[in-house]
């Protein structure tokens, strides 16, 4: 079924109206909660470190639950069923972790003026090598993530019958310009509009769509019939062999989620440690939304939607069941939902480049205004890089790299989190553990045809699990052993201070 038969003018007009609205807001944002945006990286890159509970809720909700999520989670649920639902346990268990760990990180960052995860690691371990490892991992993992947001935006633009790559390029240039001029204030302000729009769309969808399709019972029954006909590793509940992959994917993703530069930027930009704690209690509201969004994948079966690519499930469902003006509103919500994370991701990556590459290696004496200037340019470079990625490379590369990115960013966990609670680990050990985790994880994923699962045989039984979590366990084990060895060769009190 061709998506791009003809241009849907009503949808497109509504879409353009909301897109124009957030563009104006993006440029206006520089003056919101005004601060000297160009004089300090804390202003451009962290919005002045002043965001309270509600702004942080909208901002983190807006950049953690991305547009790509709205497209890809239902697509996966549509394709495989229960297994695609791992996003739900993942985004529940992430919050007890955020509650316990992130306020500690915030206090350390606030006391020492840290802007990035790599700043925090350098502050704890005084190791340029570990700082660079964390910074590079963050930047490399973020790039394909930005590219995915573009894919999400491209899917809805295509659904309105607008072909070609020009609209995507135009949208991205606009985004790049207001991020350049307003910094983190732009996505923080736009997140309000984006999140309210997404809530409206999803609440309408989860009430109206099942009503049109005969209720949730009918929706699940239609999906069950489809999976029974399809066979293979699909179904409304997990097959026994899928249980361990499901649980380990959820746990590994939850531990990785707040290692990314964009989520950490939301943490560092908060006003207080208590802001973060309250958000750990309030952010699960988005998870409820995500769980309902995931079910759109099943509603597609009940609505007899046929798609060539699972990513078209959500746009096709909206087009089939909503009047065109509301479909346009929903598409605008998804496209704006791509802008917010893309902006925060590019800011997070730019902060890393500025603080942990430029300041550490090129110009250690850089002024605060100089840092802001470098970061602004870096954010443009990052976005152009992501755009080029989408325009010139196959989409599959972005998906594969995003998958590897999750496994890579998870390997920064020991360096960033352990130091908040214990000083037992040594930088040399953590660096070696990071390298082992990245090396083994990438090699294993690569040799499995870029599937995120690894298999081990223990006592005749084979266990399949998320490769990122396996790499993290290896990482921690190597870090611990290497720490013991380094401690024997170079005891801390005498050796470490002299060597730094």
């Amino acid at each position: 079924m061709a998506l791009a038969d003809q241009i849907e003018w009503v949808s497109l007009s509504v879409f353009i109206f909301f897109f124009a609205l957030v563009t104006v807001m993006g440029f206006f944002a520089a003056r919101w909660k005004a601060g000297p945006v160009n004089e300090h990286l804390d202003e451009w890159g962290l919005g002045g470190r002043q965001f309270g509970t509600w702004i942080t809720w909208f901002l983190v909700g807006g950049d953690f639950y991305t547009a790509y999520t709205v497209i890809a989670v239902p697509a996966l649920v549509y394709a495989v069923g229960a297994y695609g639902f791992f996003a739900l346990p993942y985004t529940v268990i992430v919050y007890p972790f955020v509650f316990a760990v992130m306020p500690v990180l915030w206090k350390q960052a606030h006391a020492n003026g840290h802007v990035t995860a790599a700043d925090a690691v350098y502050g704890t371990y005084n190791s340029r090598g570990l700082e660079l490892a964390v910074a590079m991992t963050g930047m490399v993992a973020t790039m394909p993530y930005i590219a995915l947001q573009l894919i999400g935006m491209g899917v809805v633009i295509k659904a309105m019958g607008v072909g070609g790559e020009l609209p995507l390029v135009a949208a991205f240039i606009i985004l790049a310009l207001y991020t350049y001029s307003s910094g983190l204030r732009a996505p923080a302000l736009i997140a309000f509009v984006k999140d309210i729009m997404i809530y409206i769309v999803v609440l309408v969808a989860v009430v109206v769509v099942p009503a049109k399709l005969g209720g949730y019972g009918a929706v699940f029954a239609a999906a069950n019939d489809a999976f029974t006909a399809k066979g293979g590793a699909t179904g409304l509940i997990l097959q026994p062999a899928q249980m361990l992959p499901y649980a380990t994917l959820a746990l590994g993703s939850a531990l990785a989620a707040f290692m990314y530069p964009h989520t950490l930027t939301g943490i560092f930009a908060s006003k207080s440690a208590d802001t973060i704690r309250k958000n750990a209690i309030l952010l699960p509201a988005y998870t409820l939304l995500l769980g309902l969004i995931a079910l759109l994948g099943y509603m597609a079966y009940a609505a007899h939607i046929k798609v060539s690519s699972p990513n078209d499930v959500v746009p096709m469902l909206f087009k089939a069941l909503f009047p065109s003006w509301f479909a346009g509103f929903a598409f605008a919500a998804i496209a704006i939902g791509a802008l917010v994370p893309a902006a925060v991701m590019s800011i997070g990556a730019a902060n890393l480049f500025t603080r942990n590459v430029w300041k550490s290696y090129v110009n250690p004496g850089i002024s605060h205004a100089g840092e802001a200037a470098v970061a602004k340019i870096a954010s443009l470079v990052v976005k152009v890089g992501a755009l080029a990625f989408i325009l010139f490379l196959p989409t599959q590369y972005a998906l594969d790299l995003q998958l590897l990115g999750g496994l890579w960013i998870l390997q920064t966990f020991p360096a960033l989190v352990f130091g908040l609670f214990t000083r037992w680990f040594r930088a040399e050990g953590l660096l070696l553990g990071w390298a082992a985790g990245i090396g083994w994880g990438s090699w294993t994923a690569w040799s499995n045809g870029l599937k995120p699962l690894a298999t081990i045989d223990l006592g005749g039984a084979s266990y399949v699990f998320y490769v990122g979590l396996g790499a993290l366990i290896l990482n921690i084990a190597v870090a611990a052993v290497a720490t013991v060895i380094v401690e024997l060769i170079l005891p801390k009190r005498t050796g470490a201070t002299a060597r730094s």
């Binding site: 739900l88 529940v92 268990i93 509650f99 209720g215 699940f220 409304l236 509940i237 499901y246």
Partner: protein, 59 residues
């Protein structure tokens, strides 16, 4: 109190405990409504820990 933060991990990561279709609720198979129910339960548990802890010193 902090032990409460581990409860969602047990409830959601031990998959054999909830990998069933029945009993369903409002048309949702058990697998789905059980996991969705953990969203408010987790919020509540975190809130209980939040209430029970000693507040930060004024910054």
């Amino acid at each position: 109190m902090w032990i409460l933060l581990l409860v969602p991990f047990i409830g959601l990561l031990w998959v054999p405990f909830y990998n069933f279709a029945e009993p369903s609720l409002f048309g949702f198979p058990f697998f789905y409504w059980y996991q969705l129910a953990w969203v408010p339960i987790s919020s509540l548990l975190i809130w209980l820990v939040y209430r029970g802890r000693t507040p930060d010193q004024a910054p």
